[in-house]
């Protein structure tokens, strides 16, 4: 199975790598947010899929990444995207720590509502503290250099469709590898144990509360990194990014792809990005169809697209065996 996953990942990376070369340039640009979401969802799923905590306010960390980038690069003139990424990751951890301390005391619906409340608190702050945050018009996220290279010959669209695209792909692979290590580490094992059965886990020496907090903080770091990518791409950090419906979309992607699998959320982010793009061009009523898709996934495919793939693989295996 591990070999199969590696194959899927390799094929996926190659396919994504070919997009700027083979596909119309629009698609490369379209996929930049996908990279941002995919990275954020890697973290989100550590919290949801592996630790069993469903946050309905996770968009606040994406907002933190975007606004962090705006503050660092826009207000303070930091031009290196790597420095910004490190900065927002740190900020994500620092903000997540106190919020997490308060939230992870609860599980289930209470955890969901508490994170939702914190998310909307953030939204209200961004709106109200107009002089600091620009209110509804948000804050500019200027163009930054990546790996110290300015790419002056490229305008931003070209930068996004070319170098930045590969940069994000690389970042996704890197973040994915790190997350893969995390979920396959002793720490990851304990997270899965506590989400399966917290009481038993405790008797096996699992520090349930601390580990939930750690997962929350890590997910926030990933969220902030994803948010910084979104900010770079949009060129603006705006309050909509932390609205509760945006958090809902993160959950949507995760469930669409399948939260019980490592690659599921990434598949979900890709699927939703492409689906939404197609639907928006086809019909003005694309929200209805998205809602219907979500409902259908929840009802008929609780394990998401990864579930279909899993079932398919199992069937193939059975057929091969027979």
């Amino acid at each position: 199975m591990r070999g199969a996953t590696a194959m899927i990942v390799a094929a996926g990376v190659v396919a994504l790598g070919l997009v700027p070369v083979l596909a119309p340039p629009f698609y490369a640009n379209l996929l930049i947010p996908f990279f941002g979401y995919a990275i954020a969802l890697l973290g989100f799923n550590l919290l949801f899929g592996y630790t069993g905590l469903l946050s309905f306010g996770h968009a606040m960390f994406l907002g933190l990444g975007a606004y962090g980038a705006a503050v660092m690069a826009g207000e303070n003139g930091i031009k290196s995207f790597e420095v910004v990424l490190l900065g927002v990751a740190l900020a994500g951890a620092l903000v997540a720590l106190p919020i997490g301390l308060l939230c992870v005391r609860f599980i289930g619906i209470f955890f969901g509502m508490l994170t939702l409340a914190f998310g909307m608190l953030t939204h209200a702050i961004l709106f109200k503290f107009y002089h600091l945050t620009g209110g509804d018009s948000g804050m500019r996220v200027p163009r930054m250099n990546i790996l110290g290279l300015e790419f002056q010959a490229y305008n931003k669209i070209e930068l996004l469709a070319g170098p930045f695209y590969y940069y994000c792909l690389g970042l996704l692979v890197l973040c994915g590898l790190v997350m893969w290590r995390i979920v396959h580490s002793p720490f990851g094992l304990h997270l899965r144990a506590l989400s399966n059965n917290a009481q038993k886990a405790e008797y096996l020496g699992v520090r349930v509360y601390q580990f939930r907090l750690a997962a929350f903080v890590i997910s926030a770091i990933y969220g902030a990194i994803g948010g910084a990518i979104l900010g770079f791409r949009i060129g603006l950090a705006d309050p909509e990014i932390v609205h509760w419906t945006h958090s809902g979309h993160l959950v949507f992607m995760t469930v669409l792809g399948g939260f019980s699998s490592f690659l599921g959320p990434i598949a979900g982010a890709l699927a939703l990005t492409l689906l939404q793009d197609q639907l928006q061009s086809i019909t003005p009523y694309w929200r209805f169809i998205l809602g219907a898709v979500l409902a259908a996934v929840v009802i008929f495919l609780p394990r998401g697209l990864a579930g279909i793939a899993g079932t398919g693989a199992a069937l193939a295996k059975r057929r091969a065996a027979a």
């Binding site: 969901g112 608190l121 209200a124 419906t245 949507f252």
Partner: protein, 293 residues
């Protein structure tokens, strides 16, 4: 002095409408253990249909004073969306609550477009028909009787819900089901039909709330998404599943909003979230809720 009275009345009026929607949420959560994100959509649905029905009635030349009953009828009629949606939710009763939350989120997305398809993207509003009931003026204090009627209607709803739940056999049956579904079923309670009834009732509280508020307000597409957060705040503050909690929560939210306008306007929306978070942290079961798990 009249400022305080005016603010108080404004706050209570807001609380009255909030209470209706929150009561619907509470009823559904209490019995079915489902947190319904689509409650705001029901509210919007009631508001839009309220306008349609009142306009229709006025065109037929019905007297203006029938406004309130017509709006009630509008709200009640729109509760017809309840049963099919309950049928949909039935598929996830036994699943993790995250799926239930997501399914209602899917409804929020779908309703946005349904409302647009039927009523268009422009906001809709009635003219001042609600002033047909006159205004009460007392020095500087001036309040439309309609607002008082809505407050009274919400109060009456609170009263009748409590009467229904405490004094009727079916209400007792609901409470029994809320407390212990398996036992109620073993005593012959058809839980499926109870769920359908409860969800429809919950929906109705939302649609009636929307219908009642619309003469003083307007119907717009984004009202659903904005309102659900406030309704959530109410139930969290009051305590999930608790009817008295909905009342207390609605009053608190309504009055805090009103008060913060005078004391510190910057704090208006923030105040509500801060209180929600404080309640969740120090009394996660809410002010009047039963112990949280």
């Amino acid at each position: 002095m009249s400022l305080i009275a005016n603010l108080l009345l404004g706050g209570i009026f807001h609380a009255a409408v909030l209470f209706l929607v929150a009561a619907g949420l509470q009823l559904v959560f209490g019995v079915q253990k489902i947190v319904n994100l689509a409650c705001g959509s029901f509210y919007a649905l009631g508001a839009y249909f309220g306008i349609t029905l009142v306009t229709l009635a006025m065109n037929f030349g019905l007297p203006a004073w029938l406004l309130l009953p017509i709006l009630l009828v509008a709200g009640v009629l729109m509760a017809a969306v309840g049963p099919p949606i309950e049928r949909l939710l039935r598929t996830v009763y036994d699943r993790d609550e995250s799926f239930q939350l997501l399914l209602t989120f899917a409804l929020v997305l779908m309703f946005q477009d349904v409302l647009r398809l039927v009523w268009g993207a422009n906001p809709q509003s009635l003219n001042n028909v609600h002033l047909v009931y006159g205004k009460l003026t007392w020095g500087d204090l001036s309040v439309p009787v309609y607002n008082l009627l809505v407050i009274a209607a919400a109060g009456a709803t609170a009263f009748f819900i409590s009467l229904f739940l405490r004094r009727t056999n079916y209400g007792r049956l609901l409470r029994a089901t809320a407390e212990n579904r398996a036992m109620a079923e073993a005593l012959g309670v058809n839980v499926r039909s109870v769920y359908a009834v409860v969800f429809t009732l919950g929906t109705m509280l939302g649609t009636v709330g929307g219908a009642l508020v619309v003469p003083t307000s307007a119907a717009s597409l984004d009202m659903a998404i904005e309102f659900v957060i406030e309704a959530f705040a109410v139930v969290v503050i009051g305590g999930l599943g608790s009817m008295p909690g909905a009342l207390v929560g609605a009053l608190l939210v309504g009055l805090i909003r009103a008060a913060s306008l005078v004391v510190y306007p910057e704090f208006e929306i923030l105040a509500i979230y801060v209180i929600v978070i404080a309640v969740l942290l120090f009394r996660p079961s809410g002010l009047l809720g039963k112990a949280a798990t």
